[in-house]
C-alpha cells in the first residue's frame, strides 16, 4: 500500500527523518512510537505531502505523493488542529468535508451517527465554532472527518492525547472495529504504549529519525517498549 524509499528530511543540516526503506501492506495497522523529536510528525507530514522531503519519496499505491494527488481521495488524516477550519461550527465542517466525499445530508447523518458515543453530545448541533471547542473535542471532530468517505489509508497523530479516559477507550474500540470492517490501513503515532500496542499489529520505533525497531505486536511487545523507553538515554 505504502512504500517509503530513501526518505530523509534535514533542517539546516540536522537530519530529522531518515528512513531508507519501509513497506506497509494493505490492511496493516502501523503504530509509530518514539520520544519527542524522533521525527514521527515530520514523517507523517511527508506522507501527506505537507513537507517537501530533502531526499527520497513516499509511494502510495506505487505513486509518489508529490507527483500526483490521487492519494487524497483514499487517504484520511488528522495530525493537529491546523487541519480544521476553525471558524466553522462542527456541523458546518462535517457538511463541507462530507460534500467533498459526495455525501448527501442523509449520508452524513448516518455516517455521524456511528460517532455518537465518541461525541458524547458535545459536538453536534452546538452553537460553538471549532476554535471554541476544547482540544479534546477538536480532536474528535478531526477524527470523525478523517474517517469520512471510506478511506483506505488513515493517518492519525497522537489520537489519544487530550482525550478523557472514557473517550480513549471508545476510540480504541472504534479504531479496532474499523480495521476489521473496512480493511483500513492505519498509521497511528502515539506516546501511549498501552493503546498503540493494542490497536496496531506492527510497531515501528523511531529514534532520532531512524527506524530503531520494527516489530510485529506480540504479548510481550509492551514490556519491550517500556524497557526501551525507561533505559533511553
Amino acid at each position: 500500500m505504502i512504500d517509503i524509499k530513501n526518505l530523509s528530511k534535514q533542517y539546516s543540516g540536522v537530519t530529522v527523518v531518515d528512513i531508507p526503506e519501509l513497506h506497509i501492506a494493505k490492511g496493516e495497522s502501523f503504530g509509530l512510537v518514539g520520544n519527542n523529536g524522533a521525527g514521527k510528525t515530520t514523517f507523517f507530514r511527508m506522507m501527506l505531502d505537507l513537507i517537501r522531503p530533502t531526499e527520497g519519496e513516499v509511494l502510495s499505491k506505487g505513486v509518489n505523493v508529490q507527483k500526483s494527488e490521487d492519494w487524497k481521495y483514499y487517504t484520511g488524516s488528522f495530525l493537529d488542529e491546523s487541519f480544521l477550519i476553525d471558524y466553522l461550527t462542527p456541523n458546518e465542517y462535517f457538511e463541507f468535508t462530507g460534500k467533498l466525499h459526495g455525501y448527501s445530508a442523509g449520508d452524513l447523518q448516518v455516517y455521524l451517527a456511528q460517532f455518537e458515543s465518541l461525541f458524547n453530545d458535545e459536538i453536534l448541533e452546538k452553537k460553538n465554532y471549532v476554535r471554541d471547542l476544547s482540544k479534546g473535542n477538536q480532536k474528535k471532530v478531526g477524527l470523525a472527518a478523517a474517517l469520512m468517505g471510506n478511506p483506505e489509508v488513515v493517518l492519525l497523530d497522537e489520537p489519544f492525547a487530550n482525550l478523557d479516559p472514557t473517550t480513549q477507550i471508545r476510540l480504541k474500540n472504534l479504531l479496532k472495529s474499523w480495521k476489521v470492517e473496512h480493511q483500513v490501513t492505519f498509521f497511528i503515532s502515539s506516546h501511549d504504549l498501552n493503546h498503540v500496542t493494542e490497536v496496531c499489529d506492527r510497531i515501528v520505533l523511531l529514534e532520532k529519525g531512524k527506524v530503531h525497531k520494527d516489530i510485529h505486536t506480540e504479548a510481550d511487545t509492551l514490556k519491550d517498549l517500556e524497557a526501551y523507553f525507561s533505559e533511553y538515554s
Binding site: 505537507l50 517537501r52 487524497k72 477550519i85 471558524y87 458546518e92 468535508t97 460534500k99 468517505g149
Partner: protein, 491 residues
C-alpha cells in the same frame, strides 16, 4: 466547490473574533477606504484641469501619457507596502480531497478582487471618457483603459511573486525609488527623455488598440507564473516561515546593572524588537522626531505658536502613546503566565514606567536640535516633556488597563487594528486636551510662558510623586487583573 470556499472566506471574516469586537475600527476603516476611492475618483475627474494648469503647453493626452510610467512606479511602491499576500489559510484544505490547482486558482482569483486593483480604473476612467474618447473614439478609450488596467493587474501578480520569492526585501522598494527618481532627474534636466518613452508607449496604445492585447497577455502570463510557482511550493512551512536565518537580537547586557527592573525592560525590548508591529511603533516614534520639521520652519505656524505644544507633547511622548496604549495587550497571549510569575506587580509596572521615561527622555534630548528654530521651542518641548513624564505616562498606563484587548504579536504591522478599543480612541483627550486647557488661556492672553511654567511644575510634581502613582496603578492592576485575564482568555 468555489461557492463553498467563498462562503468560508466570508464566514472567516464575519466570525473572526476581532471583527465584532473591533466593529468601530472596521467601520472607520471601511469609511476610510470609501473616502480613498472617492478621492481617487475626484482626482481622476479633475486630472485634465490639473494637467492644463501644470503643463499648459502640452495637450492633455500627451501630458498624461508622459507620466504614466512614473505613475506605475508609484503604484508599484505603494503595493509593495500595502498589498497583502493572498495565502488564505490553506492549511486546513491541503489534506482534503481537493486538488492543489483548484485551491490556488481560487486563491489567485480572489486576490484580484482588491481596492488596489480598482484604483487605476477610478483614477483614469474619467480621463478616458472626457479626453480620450472624443479624440480617439470609444474603442481607443476602452483599449487604453484596458491596457492601463492590465498593467496594474500585472503589477499585482508581479508583486505577489516578488514578495513570495524574495521575502519582502526592501531593496526592491528602494531600488525602484532610486531608479525612478534618477530617471525623473535625468528627465527634468533633459538629459534622458524617459517621459518620451512613456508617451510613445501609451500613445501607441491609443493609435493601435490591438496593443492592449499585449498588456492583457502580460497579466495572464504573470498569473500563470504565479500559479506554477504556488503549485510547486505550496508547503505550509515553506510559505509561512521563509525567513532564512532569524537574527536573535542581543541580550542588552547593560541593563543587568539595573536589577530586576533592568531585566524586565530587557524583556520588553526583546518583545518590541522581535515582532513587526511593536517594532513598527518604535520606528514610527523615531520618524515622529522629525514631525517638527513640518511646522517649525513655517511662518504661519510660528505666529500661532501655541500649536507647538501639541508637537512637543507628541515628539517627546510618541513612543509611550503608541506602544503604551496597548500596555498589557502586547502580552495578552501569555497574561496568565505573567500573573503567576514570581514577581510582584508593582515591579512589573514600574519597569514599564521606566522604559517609557527613558524613551521620552531620549526623545527630548534628541529634540534639542530644534533649538535652531528658536529657543522658545526648546522651552516648550521641555514643559511638554515634564508634563509627559509626570502626568501623561501614568494617564496612558491607567487608560490602557481599561478593558484591554489581546494582540497577536505575530501578525502584520500595517493596517492592523487588533487591540484597539474605545480606550484607544479616547486616550487623546486627557493626554492632549488637559495640558491645552491649562496652557491655552495663558497663551491667548500673551502670557504663554506662565502657562508653560505651570505645565512644567505640574509635570515635575507628578514626576516626584511617581512612587505614589505607581502604587495607585498597582492597586488598579491588582483590582482588575481577573477581569483583564478573563478578557484575554476569551478572545
Amino acid at each position: 466547490m468555489i461557492k463553498a470556499l467563498l462562503t468560508h472566506q466570508i464566514r472567516q471574516q464575519l466570525r473572526s473574533p476581532i471583527w465584532a469586537k473591533n466593529l468601530l475600527a472596521n467601520i472607520l476603516l471601511g469609511f476610510a477606504s470609501i473616502l480613498m476611492a472617492i478621492y481617487a475618483l475626484m482626482l481622476g475627474i479633475f486630472l485634465p484641469e490639473l494637467f492644463e494648469r501644470l503643463l499648459p503647453d502640452l495637450d492633455p493626452v500627451t501630458a498624461l501619457n508622459r507620466y504614466l510610467l512614473y505613475y506605475f512606479a508609484l503604484e508599484f511602491m505603494m503595493r509593495f507596502f500595502l498589498q497583502k499576500s493572498p495565502v488564505m489559510s490553506i492549511n486546513p484544505y491541503l489534506h482534503l480531497p481537493i486538488t492543489k490547482s483548484k485551491l490556488i486558482h481560487f486563491m489567485l482569483g480572489k486576490s484580484q478582487v482588491s481596492v488596489f486593483n480598482l484604483f487605476v480604473v477610478l483614477l483614469f476612467s474619467p480621463y478616458a471618457v472626457r479626453i480620450i474618447a472624443p479624440e480617439f473614439g470609444n474603442i481607443g478609450a476602452i483599449a487604453w483603459l484596458a491596457g492601463l488596467f492590465s498593467i496594474s493587474m500585472s503589477l499585482h501578480f508581479l508583486l505577489l511573486l516578488l514578495k513570495k520569492k524574495l521575502t519582502e526585501q526592501p531593496i526592491y522598494f528602494w531600488g525602484t525609488l532610486i531608479v525612478f527618481t534618477a530617471l525623473y532627474g535625468l528627465d527634468y534636466f533633459e538629459i534622458f527623455a524617459f517621459s518620451t518613452i512613456s508617451e510613445s508607449l501609451f500613445s501607441g496604445l491609443l493609435h493601435q488598440p490591438l496593443w492592449s492585447g499585449v498588456t492583457v497577455l502580460g497579466w495572464v502570463m504573470l498569473y500563470l507564473i504565479n500559479f506554477r510557482f504556488y503549485v510547486a511550493n505550496i508547503y505550509p512551512e515553506e510559505l509561512v516561515h521563509k525567513q532564512k536565518d532569524q537574527k536573535i537580537t542581543s541580550s542588552f547586557a547593560f541593563l543587568n546593572k539595573f536589577g530586576r527592573i533592568g531585566d524586565l525592560i530587557g524583556l520588553e525590548l526583546k518583545l518590541i524588537l522581535r515582532h513587526k508591529r511593536p517594532r513598527n511603533a518604535l520606528v514610527m516614534s523615531v520618524f515622529f522626531l522629525f514631525y517638527g520639521l513640518i511646522f517649525y520652519p513655517t511662518d504661519t505656524y510660528q505666529e500661532a505658536n501655541y500649536i507647538f505644544l501639541f508637537i512637543g507633547l507628541f515628539i517627546t511622548g510618541v513612543f509611550f502613546l503608541n506602544y503604551g496604549q496597548f500596555l498589557l495587550s502586547w502580552e495578552g497571549s501569555y497574561f496568565d503566565g505573567i500573573l503567576t510569575r514570581k514577581l510582584d506587580f508593582r515591579t512589573y509596572l514600574e519597569a514599564k514606567y521606566y522604559l517609557f521615561l527613558a524613551t521620552s527622555t531620549l526623545a527630548f534630548i534628541l529634540s534639542l536640535g530644534y533649538g535652531w528654530f528658536g529657543l522658545d521651542i526648546v522651552w516648550m518641548n521641555f514643559a511638554a516633556f515634564l508634563y509627559n513624564i509626570g502626568i501623561n505616562i501614568f494617564m496612558v498606563m491607567r487608560i490602557a488597563m481599561y478593558k484591554p484587548k489581546k494582540i497577536d504579536l505575530n501578525k502584520r504591522a500595517i493596517f492592523n487594528y487588533e487591540g484597539t478599543g474605545a480606550a484607544q480612541y479616547l486616550i487623546i483627550i486627557p493626554v492632549v486636551l488637559v495640558p491645552y486647557a491649562i496652557y491655552l488661556p495663558f497663551a491667548l492672553t500673551g502670557l504663554g510662558n506662565y502657562g508653560l511654567a505651570i505645565l512644567a511644575i505640574v509635570g515635575l510634581v507628578g514626576f516626584f510623586m511617581r512612587e505614589r502613582w505607581l502604587d495607585v496603578l498597582t492597586k488598579t492592576f491588582i483590582h482588575n487583573r481577573h477581569r483583564i485575564a478573563g478578557g484575554f482568555r476569551a478572545q
